[in-house]
Amino acid sequence: MTGSLADQLAAFLTPANAAFLLGALGRTLLMTVIGCGLGFVFGMVLAVLRRSETPWLAPLRFAALLLVETFRRLPFLVILILVLFGTQLLAPELSLLGIATVAVTLAATAYLSEIIRAGLESVPRAQVEGAAALNLGSWDIYWRVVLPQSWRVILPPAAAFMIMFIKDTSLASHLGVVELTFSGKIFINRGFSPVLGFGAVLLLYYALSALLARMAARLETYLAPSRNP
């Protein structure tokens, strides 16, 4: 396609193109939110496991350490490729989007578990002892005493990680997942100017991270209110 940018704009702004872009945005959002959401849950499990002191859990603690340290050291593209080949053996029917989401989950689990562990460790041991002396069970100690006091330390870096990871999901385009970055390339291949194709992609990335940052800030004021300003 040739012609001035103004001519191209008219051809660019069609419902079909909008739907295509929104689909790509949806896949980027899905990989990020599902991957980081699951990563948060698994990361929490690993963090609690690594802090446990039960002797017979020692092999699991070591496995958790190995998992976290490995996936924190691998570039995300390498994790994507590992998951691609891994799933060909284990779950060949998994979609490309599914593969990318698993890869995000693995990376997020490793990073977030370290962020959560640091948060849990920021709570003084005396708080745990106070709870234990009152006979509170392990679940209550974590859920009602330690975790509520950790949010202040966990949330800001966890949100920053997720917002940063939105951008890393663009690497899933190498697998063929039609997420935002890939959709920009497709527009260029169809003859649109990069100003339009990647301009739209840029706006959507910006909007997505701004939205997530706002939601994180909301969550922070809700979970970790500051009483003494």
Binding site: A126, E129, G130, A133, L134, N135, L136, R144, V145, N228
Partner: protein, 245 residues
């Protein structure tokens, strides 16, 4: 039968023996004070009793029933009958005063929330904190926090209350209000074991004073005996050094 019986209790901290065979008894409703220099094992004895620093040997009995610190269930049973107030209060920072006092009755003792709150407010009134139910610990002075901590420890209806240097972290002008609170509890049927450096308070309130040094009991007796007619040279020196200051 004594209410609390401790025989040859040993405990170590990071491989170093801190309690080297401590024996003492307390009858129901007694106030037993542990005195002695820093590092003599007074606080460790309290922590060992409630299982925070599990003993490595010896025997603890409550009303004749032995406690097995290696068994979780035994320690849970113990902590239903015994609670502790810490030097640094250890109030849960994320909960208001009333929640601090009601969490254990509700989550551990199966008391309904309404019932726990009613009793919680009563206890907070007793320690002079009725007005502060909705406040958070970091909005309170040290003395106020410590009075809430005492209410929290009483909320589980302990038979035995341990008090670990409860005034040591307070501003001097706040010490009195906490001592008044403890004074009001003494003689109310609850057995107390306390560690304190407030010697005049110890002398006034204790039914039994235990002098400790280097992880051992040096001398046990009435307040009168320990403060006025100590039998050992070590106790005499310790009491003398305190009175001189």
């Amino acid at each position: 039968m004594h209410h609390l019986e401790i025989r040859d209790l040993t405990a170590s901290y990071g491989g170093n023996p801190v309690l080297r065979g401590v024996s003492l008894d307390a009858d129901r409703g007694e106030v037993v004070s542990l005195i002695g220099p820093s590092g003599s094992g007074k606080s460790t004895l309290l922590r060992a009793l409630i299982g925070l620093t599990p003993p490595t040997g010896g025997d603890v009995r409550i009303a004749g029933a032995p406690v097995d610190y290696r068994r979780k269930e035994s320690v849970r049973e113990l902590r239903r009958r015994m609670s502790i107030v810490f030097q640094q209060f250890n109030l849960f920072q994320n909960m208001c005063v009333l929640d601090n006092v009601t969490i254990a009755p509700v989550r551990v003792h199966g008391v309904t929330r309404a019932e726990a709150e009613e009793r919680g407010r009563e206890l907070l009134a007793k320690v002079g904190m009725a007005e502060k139910c909705e406040a958070y610990p970091d909005q309170l002075s040290g003395g106020q926090q410590q009075r809430v901590a005492i209410a929290r420890a009483l909320a589980v209806r302990p038979e035995i209350l341990l008090l670990d240097e409860v005034t040591s972290a307070l501003d001097p002008e706040r010490v009195g209000e906490v001592l008044d609170t403890i004074r009001a509890l003494a003689g109310g049927g609850i057995t107390m074991v306390l560690v304190s450096h407030e010697m005049s308070f110890v002398r006034e309130i204790s039914t039994r004073v235990v002098m400790m040094d280097q992880g051992q009991v040096i001398e046990t007796g009435s307040a009168e005996q320990i403060f006025v007619r100590p039998e050992t040279e070590r106790t005499r020196a310790f009491i003398g050094s305190i009175i001189r200051h």
